[in-house]
Subunit: 408 residues, 2 copies
């Protein structure tokens, strides 16, 4: 079957690599030979094995009736959205690694795909090489999923791991990550949590069957995390991770992306470097946790290749796995309204007792206090109380506690 | 669509529970309503909601043309094999949770299914609620999988966790597990490693595309693990786990089920109680690790339900996902021939230097020594040498080391 690829960058070239290097086993396992007929890119690639297949006009692909499946690995919203729409409308199945596109236009593109009886897959848009979308859409179709808790951004996880292991400051660890190519020159989307918020919205939409707008997810980044926070975490055998989580309670959706203190034995606490990990709770099978490389040319290209193969098999069989449901829009609420426990790092010691604080710890010059379960207003009151007593709260981190809301 | 279930025991009733309790969302997500038309069991179930659907004759199911998909959850080899064969030959798709059946007759049943253009799925036969078969067969179809390392038996993992956390002896922990229903009255299949060896053979066959006879997998159980071994493991920040692993090196297959010492930060080291965890390495996406409940009525029933739904969707679409390949038989070799490092616990201290031993540790009255990488003959020689010097080796455990064989 003839296929095409839009964009010959990191993910596009990873996809080509996977299809080329594993060509024989793919043909054997799937019964389909995928021929890369065209690769759309602005640039030429002289000397590249696929040099002759590079095209510069989108029309060369959309108007080619022999091309049946296309991978979009360009990134960005435009013209990715227009290209993908036109391809689907032309009866081609499309797979994408583009989380910006799926977070913004996923539902719309699924509707177009379903209307034209083609597939629209986006496994690689979340979790790199982790097959999480297929797990949710096929393997957990029998489950009422009610909670997701995940590390979805390798860049920030690398930075936090560096801060923890090397004692680096945020700025130093970011610089390291940029030198290694793990972080972009403009790292805002990662370190401010926009990237994991988009991925969390994609996961939550399909796990909970609700329409989630990623921009409405409460979001805090890691730029304010200091070595003092890391030192406190270590002293109490915890790790600081940028956690994306969401939970359905009845018809209410709670969601956030924020740094959290996780106890050592928590399933997400040990995830290091550029790994991602996703824990999903279903009402019948309890929790499933899956971890793997969340980014990188080959892991992400591998997920794109898996989607291409499944789309090609469906094309051959004249079926699709893509369905469109119009989900109800829900506005994500903050977990803080449910009540959470916090670590408050302060500039000086607090004379106890202090309503709301259970215990404290001092490590060298660093003071930290641990609260009982507080709702948002109670937390604000506590911080104000401390200020009145002359104590400044330098940082405030949510602590993981057992899921108390049973929702089966 | 009408379906039937063979066997109304732990897994069968779990399956019925999942299909009943999540009936609406399954219908909504899959577009298929699964009606349980018949449940085959020897017993009656007076008062059960499905009392009227219980049948005692297999013929009532195989001869009913309205039943299109059947779940086999009886267990055992016979008559399970005959029933499943006849159902497939009658044009019904079959899903099973029966690892004994799949390990012994899986390839034969796949061949029958493919010949009759129906599906034969067995997600629930390995890893309980963990969707590992679909991950291997669909999500990793683009990968050359070259290694599997897994905890596949919840009973032994529970026993080892108890020994570690409560300081219990093997016998005490086994008794606890039996009281809680985690271990059977005849625990041989679990504690001697037959159960994980069957599961490893099923996984390896499909991951590596070779025909693996589970009875030929090198296998050691956990009955000889003592509190002294656990104490040494703790002293060096390791955990003892019953590990099932297999690796392709060229066309050679290495496989074993045996207790291993895993360092604290190993992905399988933190798996506790009745959880299973499976790490798979592919040549493009590196490693993926998935963990979840490896047994139990609802988790396993959930996996059976997922298979039933996928088979029903395929039936409706007049397609199958089941393919049959005649794989070459390979005889699994022992990892010990590759060279491994070992912990040797001895009855007294060894005067150093001793060829082959790198270091030693003493904890109270317990002596343990750590070897350099040794092949099987070298290990035998070392043990003999120690005996000549009057030192008895009380236990010998493999230690996990980084995968040195690059096989991409």
């Amino acid at each position: 079957m003839d296929i095409a690829i839009l964009g010959y960058g990191t993910v596009g070239s990873g996809t080509v690599n996977v299809l080329t290097r594993n060509r024989e086993l793919i043909a054997e396992d799937s019964g389909e030979v995928l021929r890369i007929k065209a690769i759309l890119d602005l640039k030429d690639f002289p000397g590249d094995p696929y040099e002759e297949r590079i095209v510069h006009q989108f029309e060369d692909i959309v108007n080619d009736p022999t091309i049946e499946v296309v991978a979009e690995t360009m990134g960005g919203l435009h013209p990715a959205f227009e290209y993908v729409s036109k391809l689907l409308e032309a009866g081609k199945s499309v797979v994408t690694s583009n989380k910006d596109l799926v977070a913004a236009y996923g539902e719309q593109l699924l509707e177009i795909a379903a209307a034209h009886a083609v597939d629209f897959f986006y496994e690689a848009s979340v979790g790199g090489g982790i097959p999480i979308m297929r797990m949710i859409n096929e393997c957990m179709i029998q489950e009422r999923i009610y909670e997701i808790m995940a590390i979805l951004n390798g860049t920030t996880n690398y930075i936090l791991t560096e801060m923890e292991e090397e004692g680096a400051s945020f700025e130093e660890a970011l610089e390291d990550a940029q030198e290694l190519g793990y972080a972009e020159q403009n790292p805002e989307s990662d370190v401010e949590g926009m990237d994991p918020a988009r991925k969390l919205a994609i996961l939550s939409t399909h796990a909970f069957c609700v329409d989630v707008d990623w921009t409405q997810i409460e979001r805090r980044g890691i730029t304010h995390i200091t070595p003092d926070d890391i030192a406190i975490a270590k002293a109490i055998d915890h790790h600081i991770k940028l956690v994306a989580r969401s939970r359905m309670v009845g018809s209410r959706l709670f969601a956030s992306v924020e740094p959290m203190l996780l106890p050592e034995d928590h399933k997400l606490a040990q995830i290091e470097d550029v790994y991602n990990s996703i824990m999903i709770k279903g009402n019948m099978l309890d929790d499933i946790t899956v971890q793997g490389k969340g980014a990188g040319s080959l892991p992400t290209g591998s997920a794109v290749a898996a989607d291409l193969i499944m789309a090609a098999i469906n094309k051959k069989d004249h079926v699709t796995s893509t369905t469109y449901h119009e989900y109800a829009k829900v506005k994500p609420e903050s977990f803080s309204s449910l009540g959470q426990t916090y670590m408050l790092r302060t500039d000086k010691s607090v004379s106890m007792p202090q309503e709301g604080i259970i215990s404290g710890i001092q490590v060298d010059h660093i003071h930290a206090y641990f609260t009982k379960q507080l709702k948002s207003q109670e937390l604000r009151d506590l911080i104000q109380q401390l200020e009145i007593r002359g104590v400044q709260v330098l940082s405030c981190l949510v602590m993981e506690q057992e899921d108390l809301s049973v929702n089966r």
